[in-house]
Amino acid sequence: MTDSSVIRLREVTRSFGEKQVLKGVSFEVSKGEIFGLLGPSGAGKTTIINILTGQLSCGGSAEIFGVSCGKIGREVYRRTGAVLDNCGLYDRLSCADNLRLHARIHHVSFSRIQEALTQVGLEGCEGKKVKALSKGMRQRLALARAILHSPELLFLDEPTSGLDPATAAEIHALMNSLRKSGATIFLTTHNMDEAYRMCDRIALLSEGDIAECGEPAELCRKYCSNSELSIVTTDEHKLSLENAPENAEAIAGLIREGKLKSIHSSEPDLGTVFLRLTGKELDK
């Protein structure tokens, strides 16, 4: 393990009953990066977070901060924060009370509560009961709780799913500022656009295996080198042609005959990469 790697998985396996969900997953996450784990629903993203946070046992070796995930103790938990799919907030308590509990546990001063609420855009909600919050607000409160003790490593399980674009953008901005302050972020998502813009590196999880791992732009270049042109004709036929000299005549012909309705270059994106690699759509 290099000094800078915060998370390391080696040939991690996990089954639920007969079903093998993870079949030997390996990757490393270095300090200070935003790492994205992408995969369709049911691929095992949450399972990997559960393993990394010591909530599930596994085969192979999984470590965070050099500590085996089966033996995580207080010291490691103090250095990590997490927003999980089910937020784990106390419904009957107010926002501030939820955060006060964790401030006491982490020995953080109460003044941090106000700061954290402001960071996630929930200023003014201190006294509101959690059960009166919308889904997006709960998600943000859970995020405030996760960053309360300024953790070095943050796990975010689909932090923007179900949020409106403006709120999602706020969370992205927060993630960027956390990275600037040196935190490592482990993110799962099925939003390719989010992964492309936010992540330094991504891993594509499919059928219990890492299909590919690397920088998003590099993966796009690798798997979508020859960009394609999508053409729609006046009689609503859709064509897809490679952007190459031998197709010039065909396209020119359409223009001459006045049959071209629209023409676009289709930009390579992670969804296409995923489709090429696994034959499956990412956001299904």
Partner: protein, 227 residues
């Protein structure tokens, strides 16, 4: 210790906003008070109703409340968020145990205000209440550990709680039930609430319950953790 305090504060605030669990905590003292006031004309109603409801209070309330809190924390994922904040499972169970004992003792003190009592009676009463609540809380924690969610936990906790709460009272009407009640901790403690003192049998039965159930709790905890 700081962590346990943090959890206790959280639990107090949470329970104050949780009407059903508040009801369970105060229902027996309140009913006892109503009965005693309603039958003021007859003598010594306190001597009849206080032991009866005190025995119910110390067997039913801690049992149902501890299983309820534990299973709700499991169901809502809040327990997981605590564990991931570095709270150990032992710390959590200890805080739950302390909370239940404190809440039950505080509400039980109302019984002592309903009739004039001697200091030695009050001492015995507190001791029996504490012992009974501890046994019931351990039963409730076993049920909470075993159950996946609140509904499942209540499905077990309420009938079990009712058996221990009602058996001593029903024993008054039927000799075989009264024999059975002698083998329950609540039946034994009832005799203390009635003004008797702790006999060897009271200690034996109650401590045997406490030991056996704590053992069960450890086994369940080892097997299931807090998942």
């Amino acid at each position: 210790m700081k962590t346990i305090c943090a959890l206790l504060i959280k639990q107090c605030k949470d329970s104050l906003h949780n009407l059903p669990s508040l009801m369970i905590l105060i229902i027996y003292p309140v009913v006892a008070f109503i009965m005693i006031t309603a039958m003021q004309d007859e003598e010594n109603m306190g001597d009849i109703f206080i032991p009866m409801f005190a025995a119910m209070h110390c067997s039913f309330a801690p049992l149902v409340i501890s299983s309820n809190i534990l299973s709700e924390e499991k169901e809502k994922g809040t327990l997981r968020s605590l564990v991931m904040a570095g709270v150990s499972r032992i710390q959590y169970l200890l805080s739950l145990f302390w909370f239940v004992l404190i809440a039950v003792m505080l509400t039980a003190s109302a019984f002592l205000l309903m009739k004039p009592v001697t200091a030695s009676y009050a001492g015995n009463f507190a001791c029996a209440m504490l012992l009974g609540s501890a046994v019931s809380a351990v039963i409730g924690m076993c049920i909470g550990l075993h159950s996946k969610n609140v509904t499942a936990a209540n499905g077990i906790a309420v009938p079990v709680g009712l058996v221990f709460a009602l058996l001593p009272m029903l024993g008054q009407f039927n000799s075989s039930l009264s024999k059975a009640a002698e083998f329950t901790y609540s039946g034994q403690l009832r005799t203390v609430f009635e003004g008797g003192c702790f006999t060897a049998q009271t200690w034996l039965v109650s401590v045997a319950y406490l030991a056996a159930l704590s053992f069960l709790l450890v086994i369940l905890f080892r097997r299931k953790g807090l998942e």
